[in-house]
Assembly symmetry: C2
DNA sequence: CTAAAATTTAGAATAATTCTAAAAATTATT
DNA sequence: AATAATTTTTAGAATTATTCTAAATTTTAG
């Protein structure tokens, strides 16, 4: 776990390690800040709301998580870093992965001058 | 303008008419609530923040506008109702339309049981 | 014209997130 | 190891977008 954090330039401290262990257990997850706070509490990890925000945002900037916004006012952090897309279950406010090869995208438009693609996000609302 | 509102089951009142006139001038727009408040002020339309929220949300529910969320905490209302996609200029916090036929999507994944597609949103962040 | 219903509004409330600045922990230096 | 410097964590305040409330105003119906 520490090597994972180190590799991304994040110093492994107690709470970073604890949150990393909650998240990177091998299964793909889409967690809200609130989910992480709840998970931490369930594991008796003593931390603060501010630290959870700090840590998740740091992980996202470092490339350990991908931040996904589908609705105003609630961000999800995605542990699946490979290229993929999403179903969004509107009634359940929940994301589910779509493998990248399940959707074929071709013929992209030409980009405005001086721009590069940062990401292509396909969200299928269901 | 009144007939447009009536057609969508929205009673044409003073402020609804005024906001509709700001928005539906024939050009495609992606406006934030704040933009509309500014536009209204510039035209000496006396209204309130709550009314702008109410009106834009009503228009969206009625299908006169499409609500687009690309970032946490800021919704855009899109006057372009035809099927299309978006470039999102991250640094400028601005959307630009991509015509539907500029992107070819094929081979959609099969849907979870009992679900129907509400929309497919492709956002290219640049 | 009057009464009923719907809309608008100011300001309070809520919710997600960020900021602040002090305390605690970690790392570097003697 | 002890001390100093740096970084992280934290509680609570602040900020921002949005919604709610309940009273005032406007619109519609009789
Ligand atoms: Mn929860
Ligand atoms: Mn503005
Ligand atoms: Zn995902
Ligand atoms: Zn658009």
């Amino acid at each position: 776990m520490d090597s994972m954090l180190n590799k991304h330039g994040i110093r492994p401290t107690k709470i970073r390690r604890a949150i990393a262990e909650l998240l990177f257990d091998g299964t793909d997850k889409h967690v809200s800040v609130d989910d992480v706070i709840d998970l931490a509490r369930a594991q008796k990890i003593k931390t603060s709301v501010a630290s959870v925000y700090n840590t998740l945002n740091q992980f996202a900037v470092a490339g350990l998580l991908r931040k996904v916004t589908v609705e105003q006012g609630r961000a999800f952090f995605d542990t699946n870093l490979s290229e993929h897309h999403h179903f969004y279950f509107e009634d359940e406010e929940r994301l589910e992965d779509i493998p990248v090869d399940a959707i074929n995208i071709s013929g992209l438009p030409k980009l405005p001058k001086g721009r590069r693609i940062k990401s292509i996000d396909v969200t299928i609302r269901i």
